[in-house]
């Protein structure tokens, strides 16, 4: 399980994540599936380790606001660099959509695809491997408008 043994065991990741995020980990019961496995983008990874994106049906990393607005949701395996890319993207989306008081900026209800496209441009070349068109397509699959895709929609509470 490379996300646990590699990415979340990396000191740089730990420093960055602890400084900016409250992290929660959950293991769903076997047989559970994520809502949108189609959003995965599988990128070839020539070095060692698992390809990025593999395991999309049973691993997902979600970056969100405390209110449950999903800023970025990444199915499948990531390596450390890809994790940082996705984290930067989530922060860029937050910057585009939230003011200093963490309130939604006017116009933040633009399409998710548009927001992420803009965020990707904001990140510039620091997000390698994320083609803007592919990103927009992924986000169109995720949702049509910002804020609709909350935790509660993605992961409805299961009884018991």
């Amino acid at each position: 399980m490379e996300m646990r043994t590699v990415v979340f065991s990396d000191e740089r990741v730990a420093l960055a994540v602890n400084a900016r995020f409250v992290c929660v980990w959950e293991n769903k019961s076997p047989g559970a599936r994520f809502p949108d496995p189609n959003v995965v983008r599988v990128l070839p990874r020539p070095e060692t380790g698992l390809p990025i994106g593999v395991g999309a049906s049973n691993v997902m990393t979600v970056f969100a606001t405390p209110d449950g607005d999903v800023l970025n949701a990444v199915p499948g395996n990531l390596d450390v660099e890809a994790f940082f890319d996705e984290m930067r993207l989530a922060w860029a989306v937050r910057r585009l959509t939230r003011d200093g008081d963490d309130e939604l900026k006017p116009g933040a209800s633009k399409s998710y695809a548009g927001l992420h496209l803009a965020a990707a441009k904001l990140c510039g070349e620091s997000v390698p491997g994320i083609a803007h068109a592919a990103l927009a397509r992924r986000m169109r699959n995720l949702d049509t408008s910002f804020g609709r895709r909350s935790f509660d929609r993605m992961f409805p509470a299961t009884p018991g």
Binding site: M1, T5, C23, V24, S29, A32, L50, G68, N77, D102
Partner: protein, 79 residues
């Protein structure tokens, strides 16, 4: 004293002289407190196990939430 009582006494004496067996020592590794099968759990990244608590804490500390979800049947893929 009947002969059989002598036999019983001798066996009892032998048993008393026998070296007591040392207690079984369990060389246990530290348990995984969350039962995650994740050896470095909470060694670097600090994890919470309640989404609601994490959201409340993030609101209080003005942070975002990182929600890492996996499905229990990981043996079906390499991830």
């Amino acid at each position: 004293m009947p002969r059989r009582w002598w036999v019983v006494l001798i066996l009892a004496a032998l048993a008393a002289c026998a070296e007591p067996e040392p207690p079984v020592r369990c060389e246990c590794t530290p348990p995984d407190p969350a039962g995650t099968g994740w050896p470095l759990y909470n060694q670097g990244v600090r994890w919470h196990t309640s989404l609601e608590e994490a959201r409340a804490l993030a609101r209080q500390e003005r942070k975002l939430v990182l929600y890492f979800v996996l499905v229990g049947d990981l043996d079906k893929t390499e991830c």
